[in-house]
Symmetry: D2
Subunit: 426 residues, 4 copies
């Protein structure tokens, strides 16, 4: 049991690493390939970053944590980029204020593309040319950098969706793939005995520091719904006055409903009495069979209360998911949107489609310690005021997720691909 | 195991109830007796309520939940008071906006005193004159109303302290009682085995709904500090750059430090290089032996991190406190301020002095259900965005606290009497 | 022609001054006599000051500008009051922030009454006991202090009206006096030739520095309405969509209408389709014959545009008023509210009832120089962003007004007793 | 004398109009030619618009006011552009909120270029093909549209300067042209007799509606400084504590100094004790001889007060300028920045270099009426809360300015090229 999984991975084969590095870096660029330079410069709210910022920041990560300390003779591509593209690492120095990322027209997309090539070349040299001792030390950091880059791949999609949603022209990021509009599979209750169980990462293979250490928790017997809550079920809640009945809401949630005048999940739009949903393929007709998405924790909690049910704890979720296949509707499927459940009533949709809000606050596991050095700022300092989500979404890279993976957002956040599954005690 | 402790108490003797009712109501008025009418009208920030609002709101509680539904022929003292003095009960109807409580000069203190007498008289009639079936039904609600009133006694003191602290004249609420300024007792580590333990209220005697149901939790072996952290120890943290080192802070905490320019706990003041502390007895010299107080969760957490330690979970705290005597520096002692530990190194100060921040988010216990009806809004709807504090403070009524008692505040709150005790894993 | 009228007045008889001092100081206290201590402590918005603050600040003016510099051996009543009760005099030192005046429960009303007596006694000594050279120097400052106190008499009434208006109980400051509800006199156009005229104070007798120097202006021929615009006429504007038609409004005015959701003048209330008006005598039925009051410059301007007319310039107003009798519905009449015009169609209501918004920005007259010393901050530094109002209102002391008197408020201000009269070019 | 100058111009030769139309439209595009698409999408504060928005909005003006009503068979280029590119014309319909112009990545610069070509082609058809009656009616509107486009040429430069100034890379819009850094010419006082004079536009040739009608004003004898205030003189003010002495400031100005922490004019930067100035040619060394620029009215007023002088009224300025040659450092010189005075002590720099703040509020002239229809919203509705500036600046097109031209900005605005000239009474 350790809080420092990075050291435990063991250095992989260098050739594999070079290939994996190239693939993941390329995947990021592929996500931006269809966007105009103008699209890549916009910050639609403080939580959102411009696409080109993501392209540069992920590059900065490798430059800052790998190349500068470990590649002899390496000179930073541009002296100001350390300031412009640091996200939140206090240890590393001052940084451009987050809400002002959208004020930077320069460096432009072309200069950032050059930055990426420059760093990629140097990284290849580092991976292939470092001595064995160095290699053992840096391999875990490269793995962290690649996982970091995959997180930003998801953020690129979340963020450009938000940017486009505020444009009256409602641009589409990608044409729609054909979607079966059949009914979802029936919802059944799956029973779990609970008891004294173990959850958390055991340190074998890569994981973020916040996923460990593995530890014991007591679970009372519980049930999980076999599939995600659908848009149709959520519409029933809305039509029963869901957004007008304070007794269904947490106090902070009700305050958010009133302050922001939420009438529905984010991206749902009503015109002339008809509902539609803005997606990465533009505005689409309402589909009752789809999993509901882009709800806050407050909405997920209120919906569950309206049902007389609740959300799962993250321990329950992880325990239940530990035998499920790590497969689902991830970014590689191309839908970039959750799709209806098609199963037979056994446990499904645990991975992919939408991140599932749990009723667990994002807090450290027993004996948790952040990774040493600046990368210790990666997760630990956010363990306040946020709730845990599990399972990955339709915009998550498929090789990025694990059963122990802990995503987290403030309870009011709606621009993530967050949905829900019901739970109850037996 | 039940989530509805109110029904379990059993109706007490009516004579005892009349006496207890009179005592608690009188105690509230005694707290306001030395204040000017002007003092009682001020709201110094949205979280604070004017003294006279507390005097009226606690009365409204009895009028709304006891007299109107249960005393035949009762007419409300004033038709507008239902609107003016409802705090947050959505079920009961519209209400005056919380941040505007300080805009109400009328009703004045004299009219509110008349309101209290009017309701007290009617309550005596209800207690003494109701038939037995009614009595069985209302006795738990009266108990809830009295516990509610005791909570507002503490709020009256918290709030007037804040009001006075913003006045350049720094008025004293009450003359200072003599304080030993000796050294605190030494800090020792007390070991606990942990394992599968039970916490939470078992339904015997009064408790708030959020304290139950009693349930099992797994605890890894842990240690608690024998006493509270002192002002002197906290000063060491400050002098070591505590408020200038982001690596010690949660991200939200560091944002608060910068946004609010916190240099020290609330109510600490520095003039000409000398520190002093504003108390309910006016400005007092800094006393290194006293428990530190009026820190936020963020500050408590940062201090613990600086020590290489942590805060206890609420389960650990409750398990550790379950054998401690329910005694300490509460409001009846008259200090209205925490006092130095004087023990021998065994576990002390678990009750009284300061509320101890835990590292537990305020969330429902397994199988928790709020009390039925409007009083169900009492606790459950606040289970988001807050942290649990335990043990009561120097402004808490001594007969109000329990080992299972869960207080809660947002992690940024400093006007409560919040302090801390260190913990670690064994 | 001088910009420093204070020196020009000549020292009056000391006995008269003592009597006048006592009368004006007493009149202020009489305005507060019927208020609770709680009423006197409330600040309902940053522009409003608590009654007791006005009582103390006017006293501070005499203490600061007369007693401390000119009465040998005088010691300030309280060392902190210089900080607490300075309004905006940068030259005099630091001061309590204006928006926080409502946070000060202490000093209470009793202590402020003692402060007033203390300063009044000392002022009597100063007036009666100073040598002749001192007397010549201070007499103009005393006159300024008394005019200053009269301005705060009006502010006390404006401010308590606002405080009470926000209380759901809608308290009355004073019982209503009987009001004739007859029709107003007819509106006629009064012609003026204009030409090269003189306006501004000539330095004989007291005036504020901003009223001079007297100077020439060119006026094109113009007309003024014989009386003020009534509530009935304003209602016609409202019923014709006045608050919903952007083409009638200045851009800033339309922004205010939308941002503040103004449906009507301040203090107009609609319940169940019926309009009523909150006054210092509580809520009163809508009276179409009364002059409209509590409108902003934006509303006055929009109404005039809707009529195809305009507001007068301050030069036009002063030129037209220069032959009118200085009499009207001022505070001594006791109505504390504008009353219907009862004339025969000749020019009326130029003085009293409501301050008349002009279309003139509040700017310095040619060769204006502020008075020397701290009292130079009285007027000059506010010559930006405000519009001029003329003629006094139903809450103005009758011996306080002059034909040259320039009142000023930001164009969005509505809590002053501001109304309007129409004008046009011939 | 008329308030509707548009009708008075008389229709010009169509061929000249086609050429002038092409020249002015091309000049706008030339200003954007060196910018990246990313540069053209940024809105750095609500007052600033993205370059591409200016390119589209000026095009929308011709489409909305000329093509749609007057060119038979014309279909709008894109149905959503009426919403996206309306600036503030309430009469024309709903519009995209101004502060959100920077959220629109689409339409991109390429699509906007196509929009411009489409509208330009149609405009040529309209100019050349309309019948004579139509031509007489539309020629003044085309002239208005071209003057409107010239205003946006200046705004493009003002706005991109602000955008670049917030980028830590401090990009240069255009390389610096060689600047003589010699001493400025000496400052002399030029006397004017004043008296009853005429100002305002007389309706011959194009003018904006706010420049007329021509009317009489009385001017006391006055003096103007022969040249603009320089950076060196302004530095003396700063070194004498200009930004730290409240007695020099209007109250609103002092509030702005404190709230915004202004240490110097906008775009002045101090590093390691050395001052530099950000310009459209990047960061340049401080040049004492240059006219000071990018000051607010508050700063201009405070500087003048510090000198014991004042600003001119707009009447004084226009009277004094009426014999000056309409020539100066305008945009065609290419400096894009004010340059030192090189005269002999006679009146100079009245036109070009910097807009000169006057002490006149922006209010309607006597008998002013806005132009009929939607274009009446062009100027009149902004006649509140702003101050008049005169004479044009180094970013103004030289054929755009007149002696009667009234520019206006809020007194706090600093991103315009605003400077000052001293005045006094004789």
């Amino acid at each position: 049991m350790t809080a420092l999984p990075l050291k435990e991975i063991g250095a992989p084969d260098r050739g594999i690493c070079v290939r994996r590095f190239a693939e993941i870096r390329h995947a990021t660029e592929a996500l931006a390939a269809g966007l105009l330079p103008e699209d890549q410069a916009i910050q639609s709210m403080p939580d959102v970053s411009p696409t080109k910022w993501h392209l540069a920041h992920t590059t900065w990560f490798f430059e800052t944590f790998l190349l500068i300390p470990h590649l002899a003779g390496y000179t930073a591509f541009h002296p100001a980029f350390a300031y412009l593209f640091n996200s939140y690492y206090e240890t590393v120095g001052a940084r451009h204020p987050r809400p002002q990322r959208g004020l930077l027209s320069r460096p432009g997309t072309a200069e950032i593309a050059a930055y990426r090539r420059f760093v990629d070349d140097a990284m290849r040299n580092l991976i292939e040319g470092s001595d064995d001792a160095t290699w053992d030390g840096i391999a875990p950091l490269i793995e962290l950098g690649l996982n970091h880059e995959q997180q930003h791949q998801e953020l690129i999609l979340m963020d450009i969706k938000h940017v486009f949603s505020l444009n009256p022209l409602r641009p589409a990021y990608r044409p729609r793939t054909a979607l079966a509009t059949s009914k979802p599979s029936p919802m059944r209750w799956i029973d779990f005995e609970g008891g004294l169980v173990e959850i958390g990462h055991d340190g074998r293979g890569f994981a973020f520091d916040n996923e460990g250490p593995r530890h014991r928790v007591w679970l009372d017997p519980f049930r999980l719904a076999s599939r995600l809550v659908t848009c149709g079920e959520y519409m029933d809640f809305m039509e029963d006055g869901g957004y007008r009945r304070p007794e269904l809401w947490l106090s902070d949630g009700w305050a958010a409903v009133k302050a922001e005048a939420w009438p529905a999940p984010l991206y749902w739009e009503r015109r002339d009495g008809e509902w539609s949903v803005f997606t990465l393929s533009g505005t689409q007709p309402f589909n009752a069979a789809e999993p509901v998405c882009h709800v806050s924790y407050y909405e997920a909690d209120a919906f569950a209360r309206w049902c007389g049910k609740r959300l799962a704890t993250e321990s329950e979720w992880e325990h239940a998911a530990s035998n499920a296949a790590l497969a689902g509707n991830f970014v590689h499927r191309g839908a970039l949107h959750p799709i209806p459940a098609r199963g037979d009533g056994s446990l499904e949709q645990m991975f992919g489609d939408v991140w599932e809000w749990t009723m667990s606050a994002y807090l450290p596991y027993p004996r948790f310690r952040p990774a040493a050095g600046a990368v210790g700022e990666y997760n630990g300092k956010f363990m306040s005021g946020q709730m845990v989500l599990r399972g990955g979404a339709a915009v998550t890279p498929p090789d990025h997720i694990r059963v122990t993976y802990r995503n987290f957002f403030p309870p009011s956040a709606r621009w993530a691909f967050g949905g829900l599954r019901l739970a109850e005690y037996r």
